[in-house]
């Protein structure tokens, strides 16, 4: 007799089980029936004699694997408190608000690597920092994270200074730089905290990403990475799923309008693979299985000073000012295989509401604010000092035209 009930899955289980838990909800239509094997077979007796026991064993084994996988999935789906119809991450959610107009721009610039030989990563991050500041994002809207203080490293012959070029054209460390998180503060946890805005009480405002539904956010991250992760402090990892969850939380709270995520690491495109929240544009310096290369070294400093992707990016941005209307696709086109020795990947899988060739770079790199010149003047305001005279009870003063206050027409109040 059969010990195990054989199992029949009505719809294709393969499609459902092959995908991750997110799409598991699609499997609601899957019905599993436990059917006792009756032994009624339509094969001819001879053929059955040869293969019956063999096929039955195989079927039994396969059915067990399927049953186990399904049961495991289902058990977990329930145990983790998400009823099937409610599970599914933010990608399935209807947008809380319509796409708003961008009124403020923020930047999170992260250098994840420590140690002197990773000088170039600090230089990458600082170069981007100078670029966004030059294009008008104020320090209060830039969160800069440097995992090491290469400028003040004992091995730095140019002590207290950093350069991204052997010709030392631009001094990056400068006199006006605001590093929000430095050294061992820079961890995956800090990055998640900054993105999700979950800080300890008393965290200064400049260390927070105080964005709203009209904010465009530039996230630039550089360091050493692998398939689906980037390394922090040489020993910690930030995984793509963690980043994706952070963005999902930001989306749920309506904390961004659009995000431009730039990663300059090896296999950088895998860092964006789990992103599922809408309106995230991800640009990566290299694809899956590719390395991302440094550009050149400075023999005096003794290390490589900048990476290829950032070098070419800066070269492109040198021509831009804040009033420029160059679009993202024009920028990406300049990042050729010949220059980078890797493939720049522009991932638009969640950025679907408009075409990339309509996205201006200054929407993410420039601090463009919306202004309004007010016409009309408020001539009635006299301030608080007259209050003391007015609080006394009214006297029955005779009604004379000279004492009457000048009344103001409603239009001057600005009512429309």
């Amino acid at each position: 007799m059969d010990m195990y009930p054989s199992l029949r899955v009505v719809t294709s289980w393969k499609r459902c089980c092959a995908s991750t838990m997110i799409s598991w909800k699609r499997c609601e239509s899957v019905r599993i029936r436990l059917v006792r094997a009756t032994g009624s077979q339509r094969h001819s007796p001879t053929r059955r004699a040869v293969t019956a026991s063999h096929t039955r064993a195989m079927r039994r084994g396969r059915a067990f694997v399927v049953w186990f996988a399904l049961a495991w999935r289902q058990a977990h789906a329930f145990a983790w408190s998400a009823p099937l119809e409610r599970s599914g991450r933010a990608r399935d959610a209807p947008p809380l608000t319509s796409v708003e107009e961008n009124t403020n721009t923020w930047a999170v610039i992260i250098d994840a690597s420590r140690f002197w030989f990773n000088y170039r990563h600090s230089a990458n991050a600082l170069s981007m920092y100078r670029t966004v500041k030059r294009l008008g994002i104020p320090d209060s809207r830039v969160v800069l994270m440097l995992a090491d203080d290469a400028a003040c490293d004992a091995r730095n012959p140019q002590h207290g200074r950093m350069y991204n070029d052997v010709n030392r054209g631009v001094e990056l460390y400068g006199d006006d730089i605001e590093v929000d998180y430095r050294g061992t503060e820079v961890t995956p946890e800090t990055v998640i905290r900054v993105l999700t805005n979950k800080h300890a009480r008393g965290t200064p405002r400049s260390k927070k990403l105080l964005t709203d539904g009209a904010s465009n956010i530039l996230v630039y991250i550089t360091g050493h990475g692998g398939d689906g992760f980037i390394k922090f402090q040489d020993q910690l990892e930030l995984r793509t799923q963690e980043l994706a969850d952070a963005f999902a939380q930001m989306y749920a709270k309506n904390r961004y309008n659009e995000v431009f995520f730039i990663a300059e690491t090896c296999q950088a495109s895998t860092l964006a693979k789990a992103f599922a929240s809408p309106r995230i544009l991800a640009l990566s310096s290299s694809g899956l299985g590719e390395n991302s290369f440094s550009h050149h070294s400075d023999p005096d400093i003794g290390v490589y000073v900048i990476d290829r992707f950032t070098y070419n990016t800066l070269e492109f941005f040198e021509q831009l000012n804040v009033e420029n209307t160059t679009t993202v696709d024009a920028y990406v086109k300049t990042l050729t295989q010949a220059k980078l020795l890797s493939t720049a990947v522009l991932d638009t899988k969640t950025f679907k509401h408009r075409a990339v060739n309509t996205v201006k770079l200054t929407e993410f790199f420039g601090g463009v604010s919306k202004t309004k010149v007010l016409s009309g003047v408020l001539d009635w305001f006299v301030g608080a000092e007259s209050t003391s005279e007015r609080t006394k009870p009214p006297t029955l003063s005779p009604k004379t035209p000279s004492l009457k206050y000048e009344s103001v027409d409603i239009k001057t109040l600005g009512f429309r």
Binding site: A93, T103, K133, P138, D379, F381, E385, S407, G414
Partner: protein, 614 residues
């Protein structure tokens, strides 16, 4: 299975391997049976002492059955004890490091709450109409039907003999003779004195009959919650329309919530900066901020806005902070000018304008207000509007940030002192502009007040009339209750979507606190107690935000994804617990076998020698 993540596959593989191993082990233990059974049968008969086979089934059973003593199970106890201790420790440890603590969170029907919040959006009010002519009462009743959401209460001397009473107001009659002699400002104060103890959702419309004097039928809207109209006591053809216009302020509603009004902590931090672009000796300006600006001009402003925002004011003087725009010289204006199109780039991101970066009294953003003193070689400087006209305030607002006003020192000339303090006359110019910009930022200009031919008594001291603040309070109530609901439902979604996320008890408490405050706000709004309702809704919003942005525990991960579990649990569980479990199973089987053999031998022993002795 090509799309399944590798870690998941690895986990399935390991679990399958462990299950297979356990199954085969059980099979092996069961298969021991027949050997032993065969041996058991001749256990008492032949025991080959010299067997080279160590502990063969036969020999072992012979040993067990020597005198029929029950085994004491020492090995079983040792292994069992080890298993219990280790598994307790390891499983507890594994649980601690891999399963998130999730407090029980109340799940609410946020859609239904949203609908109830929507129902409270509609603003209602009570209007007391003071009429001293019997024949106008009918008109009032007609009006009551015409305007929805307004309860009309009539105060009339004909209703009682001594005076006109209402629930909260005591009015001497006839008021017309007293009020007729007063100027508008005094009428405002007079009415306000009478209705001081009335709730903030009640308004007064006063009809003042004059003694036959020619009156234009002008409506005056006071700073508080009263409007009045003089008329000549005879029938007035425009009476109905005018009276209806008096209700217009009640229908004030902010269509879009301005960001500075909707901060979750209800704090508005107004940061003033006097920006000296290029100060040189004799051309540098300063101010006595506390005495001349904060107290003299803005002393009444925080009080007026208290019901909506906790306004905090701070000031600073910046030096050497030049604009990024180089203005052009305009012959037409005989001055340096900045076009409207250039104003977005006026503020330099290098200005150290954020005063309190290290200190956070507020969650939200500060409202910056900068007074820009241009360099001497770019003075006088004017901002042009879209029509190339000089703007009256010589400034502009920056959405979400604040505003700028250009201050050209008189004559653009240097003065004798090295740094001169601004006098009050100069300060009044940009303070006025600031009040205008603040009104713009709070959305008061965007409100749809019907075009009524009314004279409005401007709130000269504070900048905000009570009836305007009422509209802001209601707008806040609506916005805060909606924000609270949307934050709570976002949090609910995050919690249910991220099954690995830890949820401390504190978050669950905050959620229920927020829900309760929301319910209270809705209940108060139904009673038209909008001030209290707005405060309660603000609390609900603030607490919901606190729950959403709760920092969790300050160390460690907040979620344990499956690959983490595989990596953390398998090295703990597999090498230690599985061998121990297998050993325990074998030992238990062995123990049972020994016990049964001992029993059998005992029985046999009992049955044979006893008979022999007898």
């Amino acid at each position: 299975f090509e799309d399944v993540p590798h870690d998941t596959l690895a986990l399935y593989g390991v679990v399958l391997a462990v299950c297979g191993r356990l199954v085969s082990e059980v099979k092996r233990l069961r298969s021991l049976g027949p050997d032993y059974v065969a041996a058991k049968d001749d256990a008492g008969a032949s025991v080959p002492e010299s067997s080279a086979e160590w502990l063969s089934p036969a020999r072992e059973l012979a040993k067990f059955t020597k005198d029929g003593a029950r085994p004491r199970g020492k090995r079983l106890i040792v292994i069992g004890y080890t298993l219990v201790v280790l598994s307790t420790t390891l499983i507890t440890a594994a649980y601690r490091v891999s399963v998130s603590k999730r407090a029980r969170v109340n799940r609410n029907d946020y859609h239904e709450m949203q609908l109830r919040a929507d129902a409270s959006v509609r603003r209602r009010a009570t209007v007391r109409v003071w009429v001293d002519h019997e024949r106008h009462l009918d008109n009032i009743h007609a009006m009551q039907l015409a305007i929805a959401g307004v309860d009309v209460e009539v105060i009339s001397p004909h209703r009682s003999s001594s005076g006109a009473f209402s629930s909260c107001a005591v009015v001497e009659t006839p008021w017309s003779t007293a009020l007729d002699k007063l100027v508008d400002d005094d009428i405002d104060v007079w009415i306000h004195e009478r209705v001081k103890s009335c709730p903030s959702s009640s308004y007064d419309v006063v009809f003042i009959s004059t003694d036959g004097e020619a009156v234009d039928g002008n409506i005056v809207l006071g700073q508080n919650r009263a409007a009045w109209m003089r008329y000549d006591g005879k029938s007035n053809p425009a009476f109905d329309a005018s009276a209806r216009a008096l209700f217009a302020p009640l229908t004030l509603q902010a269509p879009h919530m301005p960001p500075f009004l909707s901060t979750s902590d209800g704090v508005l931090l107004v940061s003033f900066s006097l920006v000296n672009a290029a100060p040189v000796k004799g051309y540098a300006l300063s101010w006595d901020f506390e005495r001349d600006v904060e107290e003299h001009f803005l002393g009444a402003l925080p009080g007026a806005l208290r019901r909506v925002l906790d306004t905090q004011i701070e000031g600073q003087v910046l030096r050497h902070a030049q604009s990024r725009i180089r203005p052009r010289w305009s012959e037409a204006h005989n001055a340096f000018v900045v076009d409207a199109a250039q104003t977005p780039f006026f503020i330099d991101s290098d200005w150290p304008i954020d005063t309190s970066v290290a200190y956070t009294p507020v969650n939200g953003k500060p409202l910056h207000f900068a007074v820009y003193v241009p360099p001497q070689h770019e003075c006088p400087l004017y901002i042009l509007d879209e029509h190339e006209q000089m703007s009256n305030t010589n400034g502009f607002i920056v959405e979400g940030w604040g505003g700028i006003v250009i201050f050209n020192p008189p004559g653009c000339s240097a003065h004798n002192e090295s740094e001169r303090k601004l006098n009050r006359e100069e300060i009044s110019k940009f303070v006025t502009a600031f009040v205008q910009q603040l009104r713009e930022h709070l959305g008061l200009t965007a409100m749809n007040l019907q075009k009524i031919k009314a004279t409005i008594l401007p709130p000269k001291e504070s900048g905000f009339a009570a009836w305007e603040v009422d509209a802001l309070v209601h707008a806040r109530l609506v916005s805060d209750s909606h924000s609270a609901i949307s934050t709570l439902s976002s949090l609910d979604k995050v919690i249910s979507d991220m099954p690995d996320m830890a949820i401390p008890q504190e978050i669950a408490d905050l959620i229920s606190d927020s829900t309760q405050s929301f319910e209270r706000a809705i209940a108060l709004a139904q009673e038209m107690r909008y001030d209290e309702a707005a405060a309660s809704a603000l609390h609900a919003h603030a607490v919901a935000e606190a729950a959403f942005f709760h920092p969790f525990s300050l160390d460690g991960l907040q979620s344990y994804p499956i690959e983490y579990k595989v990596a953390a649990l398998i090295p703990i569980l597999l090498p230690m617990l599985i061998p121990l479990l297998l050993a325990f199973m074998r030992e238990a089987n062995h123990f049972a076998l020994r016990t049964s053999c001992a029993e059998r031998a005992k029985r046999r022993k009992k049955s044979l020698p006893t008979k022999a002795k007898i």
